[in-house]
């Protein structure tokens, strides 16, 4: 079975919500729709205070090259165009909508039928549709999907890879989509394959999801000969773009380059499903599957949630032991962000909400580095976290740069494996920030 070679760790996968069917979550009373829920420039609001909006109406436009449109997840009145806290803990521009009823834009096809015949055949039309519907990567980074498929002049795509790895422990949102919307996902994959102009697409799934592998392999064998399901040996961080490309194609994205430089485009499975909905159902991306789980959650669940729903409403629905909850994380335990409060709304990139028991919320005390080399062994990029953290501590920025800090994925393998509990990723993040700024300043000159 395939996997990437260099580094990686094996955290306990703890997929507590594995068997919880996707439930449609209640529409919130008030929706807080962030304008900066994708990578790149924030979207610009196109509605004003007091405007009436329906579900699926465009409320903000992504004007910059890397940006995305945002559509109303609810129907009601625009209450305020203001700022609201997001998962980073900072305030970002947001449109706050008071919900009245649940009236959808008429252009959205709400029928349950699966449409197999692809409605658009020209790659340009498909990409324009994806852009119009505000589809972004649902894995966490929320990179606008249409940008990935606009291949720069002089480059050629050989591989389309759909990322259904879900290597983060606990999260099961992608897994449930594979099981419950398998056929739609395959149609979405075919749409993207046409958009990219390649003959074949690959869907990478880790072998801790044997049911999903079996289900999709069966479907693909019947009607989707242009799609290959690739089972992957479980190892974190296989869902990282570069590691997934290595595992499936054997190609290595060179340091500082993009997947397209080795002829690959990778797209998350959840957003591939959104592509299906956008193209076949004319439905913008305004809701997504979110896993709500953790050691203090009595009813680990997968919800289909409208963007803008405050996370506290999700937590209220899973019968959580809040008394003993010490930390709440948006995303997975390896790369997710710890929330400062639960007013933070769901955004397009929210893959999960994870509740930690207070006993597992604090980091164990950190000790001297014992130079065991486990961080070097675990690093999937072949870096030396022990050296980098020491150099960052001493602010030797030139050496930090020379030791390839910018290759760091912040995947957390080094810190996960460190027997001295050193806060390696904290150091690495600091180093990346400073060195990244240095590089940008140099480019300006």
């Amino acid at each position: 079975m395939k996997t990437f070679k260099l580094g990686g760790v094996h955290p306990n996968d703890n997929k507590l919500s594995r068997d919880a069917k996707i439930e449609v979550f209640a529409v919130p009373q008030v929706a807080y729709v962030s304008m900066a829920q994708h990578l790149g420039a924030p979207a610009k609001p196109v509605v004003a205070q007091g405007d009436k909006v329906k579900v699926g109406d465009m409320i903000a436009v992504g004007e910059a090259f890397i940006s995305a449109n945002i559509h109303s997840p609810v129907s009601g009145t625009v209450d305020k165009i203001d700022e609201w806290i997001d998962a980073s803990g900072y305030k970002t521009p947001a449109i706050i909508i008071k919900v009245e009823g649940d009236e959808w834009n008429e252009s959205i096809d709400r029928s349950p039928d699966i449409i197999k015949d692809i409605r658009l055949t020209d790659p340009k039309d498909i990409i324009a549709k994806i852009k119009e519907m505000g589809v972004v990567g649902l894995g966490g980074a929320a990179f606008p999907t249409h940008v990935k498929f606009m291949i720069p002049e002089g480059k050629k795509a050989d591989y389309l890879i759909i990322n259904a790895v879900e290597c983060e422990p606990y999260l099961t949102a992608d897994h449930r989509v594979l099981l419950e919307h398998g056929e739609k996902l395959l149609i979405g994959t075919r749409i993207l394959r046409i958009a990219l102009g390649v003959d074949k697409a690959y869907i990478g799934i880790e072998n801790n999801k044997p049911d999903a592998i079996a289900h999709l392999t069966e479907l693909a064998a019947k009607d989707f000969k242009d799609i290959e399901i690739v089972p992957l040996k479980m190892k974190y961080p296989q869902g990282a773009e570069k590691q997934l490309i290595k595992a499936i194609t054997g190609r290595e994205v060179p340091s500082g380059k993009l997947p397209i430089d080795v002829g690959c485009v990778v797209n998350n499975s959840g957003s591939t499903y959104s592509v299906y909905e956008a193209v076949q159902k004319n439905k913008p991306l305004f809701e997504r599957v979110v896993t709500v789980t953790g050691k203090t959650v009595k009813k680990p669940s997968n919800f289909l949630v409208r963007v803008g729903t405050p996370i506290k409403e999700l937590i209220a629905a899973v019968d959580a032991d809040l008394e003993h909850t010490g930390k709440i994380v948006s995303g997975g335990p390896m790369m997710g962000k710890a929330l400062v409060n639960t007013d933070v709304p769901v955004v397009k990139g929210t893959s999960g909400v994870l509740l930690f028991h207070e006993m597992e919320s604090c980091r164990p005390a950190s000790h001297n580095c014992i130079r065991c080399g486990k961080c070097v062994e675990a690093c999937p990029m072949g870096l030396e976290p022990f050296f980098l953290s020491a150099a960052i501590d001493k602010e030797l920025w030139d050496r930090v740069e020379a030791h390839h800090i910018m290759d760091c994925l912040e995947c957390g393998c080094c810190q996960f494996t460190c027997p001295s509990n050193r806060p390696l990723v904290d150091y690495l993040r600091t180093g990346k920030k400073v060195v990244g700024q240095m590089i940008r300043n140099r480019a300006k000159k």
Binding site: G326, M335, G373, V376, C418
Partner: protein, 337 residues
């Protein structure tokens, strides 16, 4: 709900910790300790307990009154140092020398550099070499192993006293080799050496017990095979080449890897995380250097045994090796699949 805790990712941690690693090392040393106690009886127990107790004491005193740092005894590193130092000493060593060795190991070799993780040289080996250079006579006065243990078994406490006080001394195989050449060790029983029936430091005599511990450490992922294998293999190959050149002058390779501290050094001393290289390539070079130097010192040097010196010399090269042997980077060169 109390206040939420906020920290950077990752939010989970693997199950490794320093104290766990050190406890695994202690566990892995148990077979060697058992052989030591079987062969040397009370002498072994005395050496080990004095050594461990004084290492713990000096670590505590320095941490509390000089470094004024956090309590560090619970990381078990001082226990490991004490255990390894004790296993590297002869059973008949007077108690104050053991205390002195422990003092040197903990204070000069470890705490002066800033405690665990900052030392350049393996503390237990520094302690041993300090004693070897300062008290060469006592450090090379070996009790004949099984006889002293038999005295203990058959005569109880009285025998124990007799075994340690009127130590029945006999040379180590390597001592014989140095004194009398190859002829003096002709006809040695290698199975005896493998099981531990020979003179030497209390912990180094049984290759079998040490290898069992080494396998356990590899299984628990505390050490990797690279250093022990390259150490033993290099020593074997190099002494083998010498032996092929002139079997009447040089001992055979099996003799070399089974005698002296080679096994203990290769499995437990050279693999000390703090003082060995980071990458697999570096570890192979490090182990090879240790093996080569050991045989060089044994055959051409003044001392019959060279493992401690070899490892300490290679310890000094670790920063250099770490510079030369970098991990393989992802995406370093473009490869089209």
């Amino acid at each position: 709900m109390s206040l939420l805790k906020v920290s950077g990712s990752p939010h989970i941690h693997g199950d490794q910790s320093v104290s766990k690693i050190m406890k695994y090392v202690c566990l892995a040393l148990l077979p060697a300790v058992a052989v030591a106690v079987y062969c040397y009886g009370f002498g072994a127990i005395k050496v080990l307990s004095i050594s461990i107790a004084s290492c713990l004491f000096f670590e505590w005193v320095i941490q509390k009154y000089f470094l004024k740092g956090a309590f560090s005894l619970n990381d078990y590193s001082a226990v490991v140092t004490g255990l390894l130092l004790g296993l590297n000493l002869p059973a008949s060593l007077p108690w104050y020398m053991i205390v002195l060795g422990a003092f040197f190991a903990i204070t000069i070799a470890k705490m002066v550099f800033g405690g665990l993780g900052n030392n350049i040289f393996n503390p237990a080996l520094v302690g041993r070499v300090f004693l070897l250079v300062s008290f060469p006579v006592q450090m090379t006065m070996w009790t004949k192993p099984v006889e002293s243990a038999r005295l203990w078994f058959f005569n109880g406490f009285h025998g124990m006293e007799k075994a340690t006080v009127d130590a029945i001394t006999g040379p180590t195989p390597l001592g014989l080799l140095k004194e009398g050449g190859v002829a003096a060790v002709q006809g040695s029983n290698y199975m005896d050496y493998f099981l531990g029936v020979m003179g030497g430091s209390i912990g180094e005599i049984s290759a079998l017990a040490i290898l069992l511990g080494g396998l356990f450490l590899i299984w628990r992922k505390v050490i990797s095979w690279h250093i022990p294998v390259s150490f033993i293999l290099t020593a074997f190959v190099f002494s083998g080449i010498l032996w092929l050149i002139d079997p009447t002058r040089f001992a055979d390779p099996v003799f070399h890897i089974l005698t002296g501290g080679l096994m203990l050094g290769a499995v437990f001393m050279a693999t000390d995380m703090v003082t060995s290289p980071m990458t697999k390539g570096g570890m192979l070079i490090f182990g090879a250097g240790c093996g080569l130097l050991t045989i060089l010192i044994r055959t051409f040097g003044a001392y019959p045994e060279g493992v401690s010196f070899a490892i300490l010399i290679m310890n000094a090269f670790v920063p250099l090796i770490n510079r030369g042997f970098k991990p393989v980077r992802f995406g370093k060169e473009v490869r089209r699949g």
